[in-house]
Amino acid sequence: MITGQKFVEGKGTYVDDINLPGMLYMAIVRSPYSRAKIASLKGGLNSSDYEGRMASVGEGGSGEINIYSEPVFAQGYTSYLGQPVAAVFGEDRYKAEDLLNSVDVEYEPLKPVMEIDAALKADPIHPGTKNNILIDKWVGKEFKDTSSPIVLEDSFYNRRVATNPMEPRGVVATYDGNRLTMWASSQSSQSIKEGLVEAMNLSPDSVRVIQADTGGGFGLKGGLHPEYVIAAHAAMKYKRPVKWIETRSEHLSSSNPGRGARADIKIFAGKNGIINGVTGEVYVDAGAYGGFGEFAPRFIAYQLTGPYAIPNGYVRAIATLTNKVPQGPYRGAGRPEASYFIERMVDLLADELKMDPADVRIANMSSEPFKSPLGLEIGAAKPFFQDALKEFEYGKRFTSDTAGLGFFVLVPGIGPGEGARIKIEKGRVKVWLGGDTAGQGHQEFVRTLIREELGIASDLVELQLGDTDAVKRGVGAWGSRSAITAGAAVIAASGKIKDMVIKDFGDYSPENALSGSYDIDHFEEMKGTLNSFGANIAVADVSPLGAIRVKDCWSYYDVGRVLSKESVWGQIMGGIVQGIGQVVSEEIAYSDEGELLTGSIADSGVLSADQVPNFVVKVAENRSDLPHGVKGLGEAPTIGVPSALVRSIEKVTGKRIRDTPVRPEDIAEDF
């Protein structure tokens, strides 16, 4: 059976398939303006009933609530188009949406602050704050470079991109008088629980979050959202189950998009192509509230030397508040931005020195491990890159005239580890992980590891969906971490079971294990880094009107040991499509007046099948030091593809490319 066959056959149980007796359906009244004063508000559940704010949980989350935390309902004014103002509840979806008209809101529109540069100058969007700067920190160490003969500067912008999972967000919340239970489409039931506990001031014992089958996450479904708190609050208040399922329009206006990062970068280099230092500013458009935006600029800055051994680095990391939906993690979550910025500069240096981009890269690689002045630790880059050039037949199959080359380091999110529980009962094995699979096929690596560690056949092993009652402690499925961390936890739990079987039977055999009852819930503490390299080649065709068609896209990633070829290849191909999408069309855009320009899935630029190129997927299986030998994978393509593809577009059109997506009119021929 192929991974996901049940989904293809329509046999999944998504959160919208969960129906409880007496369930209410929730619909949200959302701000039609990017910024407005709420002059009056009558009807529905609103901030007069619930004043809480959201806790920052999930990837890059601080776990805390501060003055920049998003209120669950807009309080007196709205700060982004789509912000929840009130909620209504009907017996079914139709009746709930009918009730939207029963809420009477009078808005006084205000001039919104829509871009980073405007935010730096504008009065604060939130009363009682000094300015629109959420974060402003320097990373690295100040240096003076007066001797490098080559000094290059440029500015880049990765515009915002919707996460656009096939299944939008959704929850069902119910309360029995003692405990709140929430089913969610999720990457991390553990984080959602942590967020609910924190935001609603509940005791951890009184909240259970259960994952439903999840149709994609890409970062969005690892954290808490206002709608989840509203549904939970309503379930407790009305003592009836409450369902909320996001529409695509809500997704595009009101869910956290990724990217939205700009940079002004300066590099100092010798005429031999060796880069002596990098400085500059990284700006993240955090949107209207804190959360991931507090983490992102420093994370980008920290990676700004990329896979290169650049000895000096000093980067200012800034996040600004704007009247847009808060930024969130999107596949890569800071990694693609950092890679894009440095790769664009390296290509610029190659052009300046009339060197082959591959040679400039090699000139800046170490054959030894390297710790960057910005704190990034990498292994020996040069041997891997040279292998990549061979795999690509660089210089023969592809040349720098038309092909774009991208080289990157993938920094997986390892700390603080991950949880896993293995339960053997009645001859079958059930496994729970601390992070929730959202379609990546975690079941495949779990089965491989159980087969290897316990000798138990895959058809006896079932991965269970996330459940905070089933696993004591867990983190989440993001940051290219699941096979590394959850895999390590599965191995450690298997070891404990083995010991117990030996204790019971005198020796270990799968038969002995399956004849007993064992139940181990283990959290594997992990820290440190496990960074790996990847490279891409892309070749684009550009029509006279600026339409981009990707002819070839090759990848060569060091994924460590492959636990499931099907999952690895699937991850790479899907990620390549998203990487291409970011370059050729994906964007969440607003007018200067704050109107949403990308309100449909077509406008948001998701690729259609005819835009998907031929992939050539190659992997290096350089084992890591972990017992199962794996490295990170999931985010590699969205990190590596954009800079490679943009370079090809630049070569084919002869126009310097700075921003994504590349708009057709910026590269159309003149006539």
Partner: protein
Amino acid sequence: MNGIIYVIFIVSAMTITPSVFEYYTPSTMVEAVNLLEKYGDEAKLLAGGQSLIPLMKMRFASISHVIDISRIEEMDYIKEDSNRLSIGALTTVDELGSSVTIKNRYMIIKEAADQIADPLVRNMGTVGGNISHGDPANDLPAVMLSLDATFMVQGKNGGKEIKAEDFFVDSLITALEPNEILYEIRVPKMVKRQGGAYIKHKKSAGDFSVAAVASNIIVDGDGKIIKVGVALTSVGPTPIKSTRAEGILAGKKLTEELAAEAARSITEESDPVSDFYGSIDYKKKVLRFIIKESLVAAYKRAKEAQ
């Protein structure tokens, strides 16, 4: 004029269910006309539903009486006689694109039909709906303008003909009265040495166009242009029929230079807006490119058509 019944909310609607409505399924055109007469402004015809249903689900349109005419068999046909091609309004876009008559002799119509949205939409969407919705981004209106088509309309008090060039009044507004129904599209029969082409420039498959152009050309035995019709999609509040094309091109043989000159001039007749599909300047650049392309293709086909 079609009374506009759309309630456009300020908010980009975020619903997915329509509000309550009454639903009727007439089996004849007369029944449908009677229902329209009865409910007037509060009613809307539903054919393939490819425009109306999304509007209702997103609650952009609030309609209390939906008259589903998709079961009226007498309005689903493609016929050609010695004078004209007649297309029943309920012919689906897929039927139009798959028709042997259309494929053999009306390539311009086939090219437009095959590029409308995606197969799911083409299976459901109808020719009449594509035209009478009055959306300037729909493809068949420009084709019909270029071909000098006539729209056959039935109301309570009898029928009338409306020329394509008189039909499109403003964005989503046509010359149809609320109690009238478009039942047939008539296109003058293709003559010898006539050719047409529809060029659509879009960002991705299935999307609306950035701009599109329909060109219809008749040449004489020497290859001189006798008659030319050019119309534009997505670049104004209505589909736009060029008034300059005839003056520039009539009596001449088409060269690359002449086609480029005509394209530049016809582009000036457009009235695009800057939006997410591109700026005004970019859309005009697209037009200059595709008008020339479509004229060259239509001219070549006209010369080759016997």
